[in-house]
């Protein structure tokens, strides 16, 4: 295994092989959410899991690759939101490194922070590309109400994104945490940053 740190560009093969799987998990999460007709996207579980397992950089790359692949296969708009995915991966990874994924309570905090980050990054993008809307029915209804009351595009757009994204991201992090907890050690150890096995050979 090649040592990996924040500044290093050399990733271990395992970490690189994790990226496409993370993208796949995102995709499957979205599909299951569709099959079960859940009112959320749940399409970032792979990104968040990759960050928990292999750290912020791999998580961030997973996020960006996810949106590139999405853009190429499903929805060209999603290229733009690659920046959001990047930050989701980074924030989760950094918080995971600092020991924020040890209990359900902490996982909720991670979810809230990730959700807020996603909202803060997405809102300017929404304003530039859509005049502030998100394309989600409930969020856009709220957008219209706030616009009519305050005529502040930023506030309206922020709230529009907040009501849609925050619950989604909190649930994504909680689902990922539930899966992460259930993973056997032989899997988590593969990506573990404290793994010093390479010293043996």
């Amino acid at each position: 295994m090649v040592k990996k740190g924040l500044g290093s560009v050399h990733f271990s093969t395992v970490a690189l092989a994790l990226i496409p799987v993370a993208v796949g998990i995102n995709y499957i999460g979205k599909l299951f959410a569709g099959v079960l007709k859940l009112p959320l996207w749940l399409d970032a579980i792979g990104t968040v899991l990759a960050s928990m397992l292999a750290g912020p950089v791999i998580g961030a790359i997973s996020g960006v690759v996810n949106n590139i692949i999405y853009g190429l296969t499903v929805d060209p708009i999603s290229f733009v939101y690659g920046i959001t995915s990047l930050f989701i991966g980074l924030v989760t990874g950094v918080m995971a490194n600092r020991g924020w994924i040890q209990s359900w309570g902490k996982a909720i905090v991670v979810g809230l922070v990730v959700g807020l980050t996603a909202v803060l990054v997405s809102t300017p993008l929404n304003i530039v590309f859509w005049g502030g809307q998100t394309g989600n029915l409930w969020g856009d209804a709220l957008f219209a109400v706030v616009m009519s009351q305050t005529s502040s595009v930023w506030l309206a757009s922020f709230l529009d994104e907040l009501v849609v994204d925050l619950p989604d991201k909190v649930l994504v992090v909680l689902c990922s945490y539930a899966i992460y907890r259930g993973l056997p050690q032989r899997v988590t150890q593969l990506f573990s940053r404290s793994n010093q096995m390479e010293e043996l050979d």
């Binding site: 796949g24 999460g29 790359i61 590309f129 005049g131 394309g135």
Partner: protein, 255 residues
């Protein structure tokens, strides 16, 4: 391999344009309308995109996606027409709803701008095989390992979809409820996705070992298995797009 990609096999000039040029075209479709935000430029750009889609013989494939985006944009025009902060000139009213000129124009600007960008992306996505795009990026200096990561998504996704179907059937046959009230459906999510994830993560190790054995981290110059596809007029098109962007910058500075 590309069963999930939007790429559509056709014989057209657009299909023979270098993928990098299509990427630069996307860049231009975002930048030029920002530099020169006039209706003529916006409308011209959007029409040009549609014409390219027609030449590429992928217009029919593009229509559902354009339609979907347009539906969202319609709500943008309506909401901006009703509530845009600078609204003052009344155009028409429907019942209690009053539509204003400033907001409608603003909504229309956004619509055209998004249509420009979506058109450019659709040209890339519909007329370029993802593996060709990755190939051309690697030839232009993208790390081959990263190229593999991008390409392998297209192999792993179909595998995971099969595994998803198997696990769904297995869990259902064990009595897992996947239909009913919202709570039932939420409760079904983890038992469904959990095994798929575990399965996929276990395969990561095998995949990594298989890659290592094949010299994934080997040093030295990498060669290509396939010759590069031949593309038409790569340099002139590239210069042409840069020239348009350059003209837009000049136009912005002059105006």
């Amino acid at each position: 391999m590309n069963s999930i990609s939007l790429y559509t096999e056709r014989d057209s000039i657009i299909h023979h344009i270098h993928p990098t040029n299509k990427v630069i075209y996307i860049f231009a479709s975002i930048l030029v309308p920002i530099l020169l935000p006039s209706f003529a430029v916006l409308l011209g750009g959007a029409l040009f995109g549609l014409i390219l889609l027609l030449i590429g013989k992928v217009f029919k494939r593009a229509l559902p996606m354009i339609g979907f985006v347009f539906l969202i944009l319609l709500t943008v025009i309506i909401i901006q027409g009703l509530f845009h902060p600078t609204n003052s000139v009344l155009v028409f009213t429907i019942g209690p709803a009053a539509f204003y000129q400033e907001g409608l124009l603003y909504g229309l600007t956004i619509t055209l701008r998004v249509m420009n960008i979506v058109g450019a992306f659709l040209i890339l996505v519909l007329t370029t095989k993802p593996s060709d795009l990755v190939d051309s990026l690697v030839r232009r200096g993208l790390s081959p390992r990263f190229g593999y990561v991008l390409n392998s998504v297209f192999q792993i996704l179909p595998q995971m979809m099969v595994s998803m179907k198997t696990i769904m059937d297995a869990q259902r046959s064990r009595g897992l409820e996947t239909e009913g009230g919202l709570r039932v459906r939420i409760k079904a999510f983890l038992p469904l996705i959990g095994p798929v994830v575990l399965n996929a993560l276990t395969h990561v190790k095998e995949r990594a070992m298989a890659l290592e054995v094949r010299g994934f981290h080997a040093e030295g110059k990498k060669t290509f298995l396939y010759e590069e596809k031949s593309y038409i007029a790569t340099k002139p098109i590239q210069w042409g797009i840069w020239a348009v962007i350059g003209l837009a910058v000049i136009g912005r500075l002059m105006g």
